[in-house]
């Protein structure tokens, strides 16, 4: 069963007399454990689409199902609960909480969102920190680690709740080439290890080269779906 199903999805922003149609009736579906990217020029609607999948922004119309649940009509609280339960986020600027240590940042969703017991929390956080190669940095604060390390912590935080879906908006934009490559590999490795679906909004060709499915968006319309199989590129019009 698809982890994301979108049918005739529309997002329109209205500001006074101005109407902006950010997403104009797109249809797509994403299978579990896939590595997917949305690409397109600035203003094409990538981030808007990611925000809708992430339950941060409700669609204007259409049908959107994520992790087996229709999310179009969720209120503010239910949307927050849904995000905490099923979705992990990775941000361009890492967005770690500066007053918490690396360990505490990863622990945050378990403690403040899912309210796990302390012992289980500790075990799970250490498991994730170990998986992203940050087990020995747990007591450091975000200001004491590098950009690449911050993004590793952010990946651990996104995966710690056993999220079915990780949404990553330009996750490599603030990293140097070498670090970005390592982070992409890490995410792929995490996908393989935890069977989590990764969906990217990106301009980074290295991510595009590494994903299995690429959706191209232009002016809010989904133009192409490319499927990369073992380094071979194929394409279908959507």
């Amino acid at each position: 069963m698809s982890v994301v199903i979108a049918k005739q999805l529309v997002k329109t922003y209205v500001s006074g007399d101005i109407r902006v149609e950010a997403i104009r009736g797109v249809d797509f579906s994403i299978e579990p454990s896939s590595f997917v990217s949305f690409i397109g020029p600035s203003g094409s609607g990538k981030t808007t689409l990611l925000n809708m999948i992430g339950c941060l922004d409700p669609p204007t119309s259409g049908y959107l199902q994520v992790a087996g649940q229709e999310i179009t009509g969720l209120n503010r609280e239910d949307a927050a609960r849904f995000r905490g339960e099923y979705i992990g986020f990775i941000f361009q600027d890492f967005n770690l909480i500066p007053v918490l240590t690396v360990f505490e940042n990863v622990e945050y969703p378990l403690q403040m969102v899912q309210e796990w017991p302390k012992q289980q929390r500790k075990k799970r956080v250490m498991e994730l920190l170990d998986a992203v190669g940050m087990a020995d940095q747990g007591s450091k604060y975000p200001s004491q680690i590098s950009g690449g390390q911050k993004q590793r912590v952010a990946i651990a935080r996104a995966l710690v709740t056993n999220a079915q879906l990780v949404l990553a908006d330009e996750p490599t934009a603030n990293l140097d080439r070498e670090t970005a490559g390592r982070i992409i590999n890490l995410m792929k490795q995490m996908r393989d290890e935890f069977n989590t679906t990764f969906i990217f909004s990106t301009h980074d060709q290295r991510i595009v080269d590494s994903v299995e499915i690429t959706f191209t968006l232009e002016d809010g319309i989904l133009h192409r779906q490319e499927t990369m199989l073992e380094g071979m590129a194929g394409g279908d019009d959507v």
Partner: protein
């Protein structure tokens, strides 16, 4: 909840200087209020104590209409024997009454054999008067304090003693009119000089009640007023209400009230000063509220503004709006608790230090009054609770704003 407290504490210490400055402001406000309450309360208690314990008592009972014409000390408005029996019966059954004293108040001519002047006198039964006004003997500047007064003796106010050049042991003559208008005179020996104090009766002389009866040729049980001392001044409203119900409601044959009852507050002008002190305390508390409200709100508004992106992040990863609300409220609460705790400690240490150093002050003609500031647990609890509550209220608006923030807008904020 402990997670929220941990995170809130970390956030407060993120901006150490700002947190410290705001807490110091709250501390200063708390210190100012607690010290003002303790010092003004001490002054008020001292003055009220002096007035009630050395002169007025806590409650006075007169015949209806006496107080309106008290300037002329009318003898024809004295309480009769039958009325006194009723008063004694009621007072004996009243638990809050510690003691009472029956007094005849009169005006007389005072002569030292070379000069003559007017004097207002309180005629008392010494044993009852000592119980009702225990500090009266403390006002004796000269003379024997033991037993207050005997028949044939007089205590005279210090101003009169100075003006008439009369000393302890001197003989003087009192001449007074009785209620029928006939004049009588009697010789007295000056037993002591009384310190004058502010308020009604504060510059009256004192004689034995039997001397007053003989001077005024009163053959029956008859007094001008009954002064009452309570076990605890805090019981004043309760006991007064009870006495008012039992005595104030009594009517004569014409259907008019027989007695009038007054608390010391209605009789002494110092009550207005006491009310003024209470009013000032109230306004100082208002200022404290304003200080706490403005400073905490300012800090919390800044805290929310500076952390918009962070609010977006925690909201995106699933933190419920009520937890975000709680997080910011707890920050305000902790800042309030920090400032209040330090302020309370400084205040209590300062009060203790003032008591150790024994600060004295002058009030009117009274000099060297000892300032003994004290503060009740209830006052401390009230101020602490008020500051903490205001800190929470001040955090509400910024916290609400943070909790209602749209995560997408917040995440875009740089």
């Amino acid at each position: 909840m402990s997670n929220i407290f941990k995170l809130a504490t970390r956030n407060l210490f993120r901006y150490k200087r700002r947190t410290l400055l705001t807490s110091m402001l709250i501390t200063l406000g708390v210190v100012a209020v607690l010290l003002f309450i303790s010092i003004s309360g001490s002054f008020k208690a001292l003055m009220v104590g002096q007035i009630t314990d050395s002169m007025l008592g806590h409650i006075q009972i007169h015949k209806k209409g006496y107080l309106a014409s008290i300037d002329s000390l009318p003898l024809n408005r004295n309480l009769s024997g039958k009325q006194l029996d009723k008063i004694i019966q009621v007072l004996s059954g009243e638990d809050g009454v510690e003691a009472y004293s029956m007094r005849i108040r009169l005006g007389a001519m005072f002569s030292n054999f070379t000069e003559t002047t007017n004097i207002r006198l309180n005629a008392v039964t010494p044993t009852d008067e000592i119980k009702t006004a225990p500090l009266l003997t403390d006002r004796l500047l000269e003379g024997n304090k033991e037993g207050l007064i005997k028949q044939g003796e007089i205590l005279i106010p210090e101003l009169l003693a100075k003006g008439m050049k009369v000393k302890v042991g001197d003989a003087i003559v009192l001449v007074a009119n009785n209620k029928d208008g006939s004049v009588n005179g009697q010789t007295f020996v000056v037993r002591g000089i009384l310190e004058g104090i502010s308020g009604p009766g504060g510059r009256d002389g004192v004689i034995h009640i039997d001397d007053a009866k003989s001077l005024l040729r009163i053959g029956t049980a008859e007094v001008s007023e009954v002064a009452i001392r309570l076990n605890d001044i805090d019981q004043l409203p309760t006991v007064f209400a009870s006495l008012q119900k039992k005595l104030g409601s009594m009517k004569n044959k014409q259907g008019m009230p027989v007695f009038e009852l007054h608390t010391w507050e209605k009789i002494s002008p110092f009550f207005n000063i006491a009310k003024m002190i209470d009013l000032m305390t109230f306004f100082i508390k208002i200022m404290l509220v304003a200080i706490v409200l403005v400073s905490i709100m300012n800090v919390m508004v800044m805290a929310v503004y500076e952390r918009i992106n962070e609010i977006g992040t925690i909201s995106a990863i699933g933190t419920l709006p009520n937890k975000i609300l709680a997080l910011f409220i707890v920050e305000g609460l902790l800042m309030g608790i920090l400032g209040t705790t330090i302020g309370t400690v400084i205040s209590l240490v300062s009060i203790a230090a003032m008591n150790v150093t024994q600060i004295r002050f002058d009030f009117g003609r009274q000099t060297g009054l000892l300032l003994s500031p004290t503060i009740g647990v209830a006052d401390v609890v009230l101020v602490v609770a008020m500051v903490i509550a205001i800190a929470v209220i001040a955090s509400l608006q910024p916290a609400w704003k943070a909790s209602r923030m749209d995560p997408i807008t917040a995440l875009k904020h740089v």
